[in-house]
């Protein structure tokens, strides 16, 4: 059985003062191999916790994650991770960063060098292979992070706001790149974002999460990701369904944020 199955995940953090926070409650989700899912929600809705559990960095208090028929118990090369920033190794050049996974697996240089060069071509860094990480711009660094993740050939790629730290123009280019890589490699992708537009453009499926307790509030199936592959993303935004969807989701998130604010005021 291929695909990623998230089964009734709950996560409770006990605080030192005796109270506890229900970060996730009964979150269930099934992803077929090759699907791209975007996750959206106000702060504190448990998106990052969900991703960390799928990645294997956290163990849930109840429920389980099953990938290709086996239960997830810890981090593994089958689930690659792309962070917002600062997860590259500055003491290695671009090529060594990208080839990190194969090297750790003990592969020989001639077995992975071609693939690494190809990936660097795909993300447009062919001329920067021997540069140090800190010589690259933020957008280029995220391209390295993407290439590093892909070079390891994971089944699932988990992205935690991978474009969150980029400026608006770079971000648009990177969104196209993510779509292109998704289509070319056929990987299963879960992408967390704060941006409603990004969630709409990149998500074949989109879930909106609600806070306290963290749960899935609503799920959408969207046509934009498929349309967007190889196309101008600004064209996609003129699609008749795009604007109504955006307004609907924005309104939903605004309501949640207001509810949180209201609850905080009540508590005071």
């Amino acid at each position: 059985m291929t695909g990623l199955s998230i089964d009734e995940l709950s996560m409770r953090f006990d605080l030192p003062n005796g109270s506890s926070v229900q970060a996730l409650q009964d979150v269930s989700l099934d992803l077929k191999a090759g699907e791209i899912l975007t996750v959206l929600g106000p702060s504190g809705c448990g998106k990052t916790t969900l991703l960390n559990i799928v990645a294997g960095f956290l163990a849930p208090t109840s429920g389980q994650v099953v990938l290709n028929g086996h239960k997830v118990t810890g981090p593994d090369a089958e689930r690659g991770m792309v962070f917002q920033q600062g997860a590259l190794f500055e003491w290695m050049n671009v090529r060594d960063n990208v080839s990190f996974g194969p090297r750790m697996a003990g592969k020989r240089s001639r077995d992975y060098a071609g693939e690494v060069d190809h990936l660097l071509d795909v993300v447009g860094l062919a001329d920067f292979k021997d540069k140090a990480i800190y010589e690259l711009s933020g957008g280029m660094q995220q391209r390295v992070a993407l290439a590093r993740c892909l070079a390891n050939e994971p089944d699932v790629i988990l992205m935690d706001e991978p474009l969150g730290a980029l400026d608006a123009l770079t971000r648009e280019k990177m969104q196209s790149l993510v779509l292109k890589l998704w289509k070319e490699t056929g990987k299963t992708i879960i992408l967390i974002t704060h941006s409603v537009e990004e969630a709409l453009l990149l998500g074949e499926r989109l879930i909106v999460m609600a806070p306290r307790p963290g749960r899935i509030h609503k799920e959408y199936r969207l046509p934009f990701a498929d349309l967007g592959v190889g196309a101008d993303l600004r064209e996609i935004k003129r699609h008749p369904e795009y604007a109504p969807r955006r307004e609907e989701i924005l309104g939903m998130i605004w309501d949640m944020e207001e509810e949180i604010m209201g609850r905080q005021e009540d508590a005071e």
Partner: protein, 424 residues
């Protein structure tokens, strides 16, 4: 007194050269900083002025030379030196009968390095005879004027005037050649004018220090050449630091990676860190003596805690996303230690190493001051006991140069070996 003069001259040169540099030296007026209108309070607009640095160093040497009568500084810039040459004054004595007579004292004031004999003089008329004596510059001398007189102190004669001014025991009269005092027993005491220059036993001129460097470099001091003294000090620092780093870095890693290690060693490290290494010198001498072992143990202890804390903070400073990324890429624990944690901690370790080397260098000199058979600190300590100020100054300058050199070397190594420092 002359210290105040030096300070005034120094301040005058500071202010004068500022005015000269400001109004006479034209500079590029089109770089970015020069176009800033707000510079007061903008730290980035404050750059070290090259001219000021050069003048500052030159001033130090100029003052040193001028106030020590250095041959490297032109004569007209010298501060007034001590009086040298033939000084005279007159004394009037009164014998037991109330008879007064006046005679001349001729004193040859000579550089203290020369041996001279008193000038030949005529005895003169009257019962008080002319006297002649020698006094070294910067020194003073009792002049027994009654010795050759017809009535001596034993006969009840006493000196009552110098150059016509009355004087009594404990009093003094200033002449153009210097001060004439009178001892409690009534003997004149001549102190030639000292001028504003420093006597070589307090501060030798620069060329004397340079000459001494050559002498000690070739002939040695206390059975060892200069290079042996400095080499021993450096060897101790390097050996002590090496062992300190060999133990401290793994200890720091263990403390950064394991609860048990941190719990076990935290109290020890946190207690030992604020103990100045100098405070350990007596104990180390009791336990290990004043030989090489004791010195290296001391420097090992000085470097150990600094390196352990540097390595620990290097491990704690690794971003969790880097570790997570490495795990997600399939790295094992050992691979994460080798490829993520160690390289990520190197900048912190280098900073610690720089601090540790500085502390070790200071500690070794101090330990050698206390007790040693060889070494830079021992050299200057022994020299100071014999008032060999030139060796002391030379030693201080060389110790400073080596300390500075060590720091530069560490910075250079840091730039070359961990270019990613501060760029994560």
């Amino acid at each position: 007194m002359s210290g105040l003069v030096v300070l005034l001259v120094y301040v005058a040169i500071f202010a004068g050269s500022f005015v000269v540099a400001k109004f006479l030296v034209r500079r590029a007026q089109n770089d970015f900083t020069s176009l800033k209108t707000v510079t007061f309070g903008d730290e980035s607009a404050v750059v070290s002025d090259r001219i000021a640095s050069v003048v500052s160093i030159l001033t130090l040497f100029l003052l040193w030379g001028a106030f020590t009568g250095s041959t490297l500084v032109p004569k007209f810039l010298h501060a007034p030196g001590p009086f040298e040459g033939v000084a005279t004054f007159e004394y009037t004595a009164e014998n037991a009968d109330g008879d007064r007579d006046t005679a001349t004292v001729t004193v040859l004031v000579h550089p203290i390095t020369e041996t001279v004999s008193a000038p030949e003089i005529e005895p003169g008329d009257g019962w008080a005879k002319n006297d002649s004596d020698t006094v070294g510059a910067w020194r003073s001398g009792l002049i027994r004027v009654d010795k050759n007189d017809e009535f001596t102190k034993a006969d009840g004669a006493r000196v009552i005037e110098i150059n016509g001014q009355p004087i009594e025991p404990g009093g003094e009269v200033f002449t153009e050649y210097g001060r004439v005092g009178m001892s409690g027993k009534g003997t004149p005491n001549f102190v030639p004018k000292k001028g504003w220059q420093m006597e070589p036993i307090w501060l030798p001129p620069p060329e004397a220090v340079v000459k001494r460097v050559g002498e000690i470099a070739s002939e040695g001091y206390r059975d060892s050449t200069l290079w042996e003294h400095l080499g021993y000090s450096l060897f101790r620092v390097i050996a002590g630091f090496f062992f300190g780093a060999m133990v401290g870095i793994p200890l720091g890693y263990a403390m950064g990676l394991s609860n048990w290690f941190r719990g076990w060693f935290d109290p020890i490290v946190e207690f030992m860190r604020p103990v100045p290494p100098l405070a350990l010198i007596p104990l180390v001498i009791i336990w290990a003596g004043i030989g090489e072992t004791g010195k290296i143990i001391l420097l090992f202890l000085a470097a150990l805690w600094i390196m352990a804390i540097a390595a620990r903070s290097g491990v704690s400073g690794v971003r969790i996303s880097k570790v997570h990324a490495a795990y997600s890429l399939g790295a094992t624990k050992w691979q994460i230690l080798r490829y993520v944690i160690v390289p990520n901690s190197l900048p912190d370790i280098f900073t610690g190493a720089r601090v540790a080397m500085g502390v070790c260098w200071g500690t070794v000199v101090a330990a050698e001051l206390v007790a040693a058979e060889k070494g830079a600190g021992m050299m200057i300590m022994v020299a100071s006991k014999f008032q060999l100020t030139d060796i002391v100054i030379m030693g201080i300058i060389l110790i400073g140069i080596i300390g500075f050199g060590i720091d530069m070397l560490m910075r250079w190594a840091e730039r070359v070996l961990v270019p990613w420092k501060g760029k994560g």
